[in-house]
């Protein structure tokens, strides 16, 4: 397999992985903040 293709496939897999991770991590955080009733940034950061 050519070098560009190998790097490209790695980039595609890691890029999609990053997008998926960020989406589902964010979903979890949104739910967690919502459950504890929304507050200021400082309180949320202290909590998570």
């Amino acid at each position: 397999m050519e070098k560009n293709a190998l790097i490209g496939i790695l980039l595609i897999i890691s890029g999609l992985g990053f997008i998926t991770y960020l989406t589902f991590w964010s979903r979890r955080i949104i739910e967690r903040i919502a459950k504890k009733s929304s507050r200021s940034m400082r309180e949320i950061l202290k909590d998570i």
């Binding site: 999609l16 990053f18 997008i19 979903r27 903040i33 919502a34 507050r39 400082r42």
Partner: protein, 753 residues
């Protein structure tokens, strides 16, 4: 009993998470993917097209996080225009609205062009163009103008598609595209030789990728329309961020599978295909996607044309709506002439804004080639997202304690910074795709700056979040060094007078006395002066003692949050040192010292001196606990200034815990020479102990004053960990001064952002 009945009105919240996600998707899957795939294959090759969408997805999800955080904290209609107003004020806000209007209008042009290109192509396939005695190019342009006029009229009538119907169509389009991707995968499983279509993966190298990423970035611009639904979405703090992130996730997956399917759709050597399949698809440029898909699925042309009709028209409708709303908002807030906020009596729609949006849209459709339309739209959205990424850093820094958040992005501030850098690179690289886009965008922004400077600045109306000067008395600049003293009340002012006098004398400074008037949200700005009397008294009290010796300016300001008001004043007046009092205990558990002092220490771009009982005594014995931190030198400087000139003594003190490498003697000697401290008044003391705070507390009992440097740790560390100086400060019962010195680069960045 109150005899007046107050009736409040608001938009009904009816849009669900599904509907707003689909609205975002509808705006994204409008054109970028249909026009972009063929062009990307042509420019970057078969692997390049897939990479283009994945990498754009990565940049888009980072920007989506910024939008998500801002929309959860400021969940109102207005999008980037609103965020910029809260984060930066009127000037940047105007620019955001001005860019948003252009970006949405040009994106609308792109959708009209997409519709025209594919409808003309289908007519050609059916042989209908034979009956039209006009050049194909002219037919395309006319189709674009006609569809634009139709949707301008629909918007004028106010007949915007309802959330449910719009969501239904978008859902259908997305399913259709995913189905194409699934078919592509099935075809490859049956005939793995089609994977050879990906050879060579990047025939023209990696640099072409930046060009294709730049001009297809418009296919990821759906957050703006989601942000616009802030007043109509159910549970917006929760649903807006989710919808933004879901839409980017779904759209990236969709684009990746569709571009994959487009590349493998054509079998090498099949009838009519000459050369490598990717090369054959690429030669059709914007129609390459259609040519490829028509060979992948039966009746591909018909299904594809139907999908494009739905996709481009719903996106066109959404962008006209969005652009009109942006221009209307500028007119409503007097950023441009109020003429633009005129509403039709009969149709109840902003007809002037709609008319000007229509003119801009049709001019772009008529005059610009497709690539330049796509590039111009991409360029303006890139610049708008660039601004939003800066905004999220600024808003969290300035108003993080005032706003209620529903979402906080991870890896802050690295994600927005990476997004800013990537977007800057894409914007620069777009010059290889379209010089016209590169000329139009800066010209548009410069025009905006001029309009703001000569019109908006003097006409705009104020908002409740802005900080206003209620009363100000200035003296001509007499000294270079400027000390700001923030006074809360007469007692607090008296407590700071002695220390202020000594510090200002040593620095040969000019004094700025500041009092912030906190006015509750419910009280209008015009009534703020009723809250200023206590501050006025405090200022007069401080002036009695300080005016004979120093040039003094006084300012009383109205604000909603004291810390933000103080930091804004420091920036505005270019202050070198802030002196502020501290009552001694945080009232809210999330703060280490207090809800005003904590943010001021974190954000003030100058030296900060915090006093607790620091103004009432003569200081003969001063304790300076040191651990090698960057504020230690400033603590020694302040202690040296305050130590009584006759018989005063400073003790530099450290607690060693066994493994510490900190050399107190070297530290003191370095700073002693720099600060010209008399060696006779300073002594050094080291103690071995495991309990640092208790040891310093015990030692402090023998002194008149403790001068201590604040922690200089990253904000997140400070929020999640307790640091020794702050624990000590809360427990210490002696007069205390805490200091933070301004690191030059950090202060410069803080002043700028």
């Amino acid at each position: 009993m109150d005899d007046k009945i107050q009736i409040s009105s608001e938009l009904s919240r009816e849009l669900t998470l599904f509907q707003i996600t689909m609205m975002g998707l509808g705006m994204m899957i409008g054109a970028g993917v249909f026009l972009g795939i063929g062009n990307s294959i042509f420019l970057a090759g078969p692997g390049g097209v897939v990479l283009t969408f994945v990498l754009n997805g990565v940049i888009a999800i980072m920007t989506a996080c910024s939008y998500a955080e801002l929309s959860s904290a400021i969940p109102h209609t207005g999008g980037a225009y609103n965020y910029a107003r809260v984060g930066f004020g009127r000037g940047t806000s105007f620019l955001a609205g001005w860019m948003e209007w252009f970006a949405s209008s040009v994106a609308g042009s792109l959708y009209a062009v997409t519709f025209a290109v594919y409808i003309t192509r289908y007519f050609k396939i059916l042989g209908l163009l034979r009956w039209v005695p006009l050049p194909e190019h002219f037919v395309e342009k006319s189709m674009g103008v006609l569809i634009a006029l139709l949707f301008l009229y629909i918007n004028y009538r106010g007949a915007s598609e309802t959330g449910k119907v719009g969501a239904f169509f978008t859902f259908g389009q997305t399913l259709f595209l995913i189905a194409i991707g699934v078919i592509g995968f099935i075809v490859v499983i049956k005939d793995p030789s089609r994977l050879q279509n990906f050879k060579p993966f990047l025939p023209y190298g990696w640099s072409k990728l930046l060009v294709t990423m730049g001009f297809t970035y418009v296919a990821f611009e759906g957050f703006e329309v989601i942000a616009q639904t802030g007043d109509e979405a159910i549970d917006p703090r929760r649903n807006l961020p989710k919808a933004m992130l879901y839409s980017v996730f779904i759209v990236t997956i969709t684009y990746v599978v569709v571009s994959f399917a487009a590349v493998i759709a054509v079998k090498a050597g099949s009838p009519g295909v000459e050369g490598a399949p990717w090369h054959w698809i690429g030669q059709f440029r914007e129609m390459g996607f259609g040519e490829a898909i028509s060979r992948l699925i039966p009746m591909g042309n018909l299904f594809l044309t139907l999908a494009i009709i739905f996709a481009s028209t719903s996106a066109l409708n959404a962008t006209i709506y969005s652009a009109t709303r942006a221009l209307y908002a500028l007119g409503r807030d007097r950023m441009v002439s109020p003429f633009f906020s005129k509403i039709s009596r009969k149709q109840k729609t902003p007809w002037v804004s709609l008319l000007f949006t229509g003119i801009l849209l049709i001019v772009v459709v008529t005059l610009l080639p497709t690539i330049d339309v796509a590039s111009s739209a991409s360029m303006m959205f890139i610049l708008l997202f660039f601004l939003v990424n800066i905004c999220v850093i600024r808003v969290r820094g300035n108003m993080g304690d005032e706003l209620t958040y529903g979402f906080l992005m991870p890896f802050f501030p690295y994600l927005p910074i990476i997004a800013i850098v990537c977007q800057a690179i894409l914007a620069v690289w777009l010059i290889h795709m379209s010089l016209i886009a590169w000329i139009i965008s800066p010209v548009w922004i410069i025009a905006g700056v001029l309009i703001y400077h000569f019109y908006s600045k003097s006409h705009t109306v104020t908002t409740k979040d802005e900080i206003h000067i209620i009363e100000e008395e200035t003296t001509p600049d007499a000294q270079d060094y400027r000390v700001m003293v923030a006074v809360a009340n007469p007692q607090n002012a008296l407590g700071m007078v002695n220390t202020t006098r000594e510090l200002c004398k040593a620095k040969n400074a000019q004094i700025e006395l500041l009092h912030m008037v906190v006015v509750p949200e419910q009280i209008p700005i015009s009534d703020a002066d009723q809250y200023m009397w206590e501050g006025k008294e405090a200022i007069v009290e401080a002036m009695l003692y300080l005016r004979p010796r120093f040039p003094i300016s006084t300012t009383i300001r109205y604000c909603r949050n004291v810390a933000r008001g103080i930091v804004a004043s420091i920036r505005q007046k270019k202050i070198d040192m802030l002196i502020i009092g501290w009552h001694g205990k945080p009232k809210a558990p999330a703060f280490r010292l207090g809800s005003t002092v904590d943010p001021v220490i974190e954000r003030a771009p100058c030296n900060v001196v915090i006093l607790r009982d620091g103004g009432k005594h003569d200081f003969k014995h001063i304790l300076v606990p040191l651990a090698g931190g960057p504020n230690g030198g400033f603590a020694l400087d302040v202690a040296n200034i305050l130590a009584e000139k006759e018989g005063g003594e400073i003790t530099a003190f450290t607690v060693k815990r066994g493994h510490d490498k900190f050399n107190l003697e070297n530290f003191v000697n370095t700073h002693r020479e720099r600060l010209k401290i008399n060696p006779e008044i300073i002594r050094i003391k080291s103690v071995h102990s495991l309990s640092v705070v208790d040891t310093i507390l015990e030692e402090s009992e023998q002194y008149d004053l403790v001068v201590l440097g604040c922690t200089r740790r990253p904000f997140i560390y400070k929020v999640t960990h307790e640091s020794i100086p702050e624990i000590f400060a809360r427990k210490c019962r002696k007069p205390l001064i805490m200091v933070k010195s301004a690191a030059r680069i950090e202060s410069w960045v803080k002043r700028w952002i």
